[in-house]
């Protein structure tokens, strides 16, 4: 009798594990699947918002469309080559950084205005995420083609590679631990992808239904750093914690460059839809 009860419970437990795992692997909830079948995608709302913003004039009367053409004609394929070196700002920029530079340099927004900066950085703000999604979507169907022509690009790429394997922080993590060594395994029920080998850069910026937000790669990379438990002197002192690198910094862009270079040849499909 006891044996039988044990057997039944084992089967039940096994079944529960199996369904939980398969749920995690299926990833998409049914209502989103149905929406997708109808041709609707939550990320498309961000593209529309971005298009509106693209044509809206800034404080000095210029809009993005003034330079980049109606409906971003001159920007088609631009995202597939980013991050790259820009002469006018003298640095390697990803899409978020490039948009910030354009807005402050050519459209009359004040970079030192804290209100504007806050609104720009915000996830739900009207500038960064919608514009990045819109501009990225202009390269849909094109192949990613990041070339390291400029010495600054080469330098940053090498640094990105170093950062990828750099073990640091209170958990002795590196990007490579989870996304190269342990790729294919699970942290709890969350599968770990390998963005370098599997060329996963194609579907970013992506809509993540877990947080109900659009994420650019900048957000994704910076949030990954939270898992490192970085600290200044001692971990058990809360004031010493360092959660994320500052936005638009070279640390973030170096990693983006490393991953996107690895995705060369894959086709851009923006916006993605992820857990």
């Amino acid at each position: 009798m006891k044996k039988r009860a044990f057997f039944v419970s084992a089967v039940l437990a096994g079944g529960a594990v199996f369904t939980a795992v398969s749920l995690a692997q299926q990833q998409l909830p049914t209502h989103l699947k149905e929406l997708l079948e109808l041709g609707m995608h939550p990320g498309h709302a961000f593209i529309d918002e971005g298009r509106e913003m693209f044509h809206k004039p800034g404080p000095n009367g210029k809009s993005c469309a003034t330079c980049h053409g109606q409906d971003g004609k001159k920007l088609e394929g631009a995202y597939a080559k980013m991050p790259r070196y820009y002469k006018d700002i003298d640095r390697v920029a990803d899409i978020d950084t490039r948009i910030l530079a354009c807005m402050t340099k050519y459209m009359g927004y004040n970079a030192k205005d804290k209100k504007f900066k806050k609104k720009f950085n915000k996830w739900s703000g009207p500038y960064r995420v919608p514009l990045a999604t819109y501009v990225a979507s202009l390269s849909n169907g094109m192949k990613i083609n990041v070339q390291l022509d400029d010495p600054q690009e080469k330098k940053l790429y090498e640094y990105g590679k170093k950062l990828w394997y750099m073990r640091v922080g209170a958990r002795d993590f590196s990007c490579g631990i989870c996304h190269t060594v342990l790729a294919g395994k699970r942290i709890r029920l969350q599968g770990l992808p390998d963005p370098v080998k599997n060329k996963l850069y194609t579907h970013w910026p992506a809509y993540r239904f877990g947080s109900d937000r659009m994420w650019t790669m900048e957000d994704r990379v910076r949030s990954c750093w939270k898992a490192y438990l970085l600290y200044v002197k001692q971990w058990h002192q809360k004031k010493d914690w360092v959660k994320k690198p500052p936005p638009y910094s070279d640390w973030v862009i170096a990693l983006e460059l490393y991953m996107k270079k690895a995705a060369n040849g894959a086709t851009v499909e923006v916006p993605g839809l992820l857990r």
């Binding site: 437990a13 529960a16 594990v17 939980a20 170093k162 394997y165 750099m166 073990r167 640091v168 922080g169 209170a170 958990r171 002795d172 993590f173 590196s174 490579g176 631990i177 190269t180 060594v181 342990l182 395994k185 699970r186 942290i187 709890r188 029920l189 438990l229 970085l230 600290y231 200044v232 001692q234 971990w235 058990h236 360092v242 994320k244 690198p245 500052p246 910094s249 640390w251």
Partner: protein, 193 residues
Amino acid sequence: MKKVFLAGAMVGLGLLVACQPAAQQAEAPKKAEKKKLSKTEKFRIALSNQDKYQKACSNPTQLVPEGIDIETFKKDMLATVKFPEGGVVGKNIARGEKLFGDPKKGGKSRRGNCYACHCGDPKIIACGNIGPSLRGYGKRGIDPKDTYIRIYNSWAQNPCSVMPRLGYHGVLKPEEIADIVAYMHDPNSPLNK
């Protein structure tokens, strides 16, 4: 004559070089106290805190130290392990369970977070498959001291292992680790039933 002059110049230079860093060092802490570190500065310091052993593991294989002999590596890491006064098996099993993964919160725990990689209590399904399963751990005849060392500093037994060195970085205190060891070896804990 020339030689004397040269020697004098050398001594002078040497003095200059020797004095400069000392003067800078004296000034530096004062400035740091006054000024709050910017986020960029903080992040840079956090990255530069990478220790010698982390650096040895930062190669593309990630799991084999480079530049440090494995035996020396293990010995150095073992030397960092601090043991609690009351022995490696603690008394507060309930606290150990909470740190291992609070069953009331679906196995979550901010600092121990064992379920992220290991399975344990059969009731908690959301467990990772990175580390080996810990079901029936207490029945395997493992010395509690080895368990303690593995949690405190896993690199003492397994250089460049994926498992975080929780005690080494101060994420868990020695007494807290002892409680986790007690929970894992207790015959009545859900791990061993």
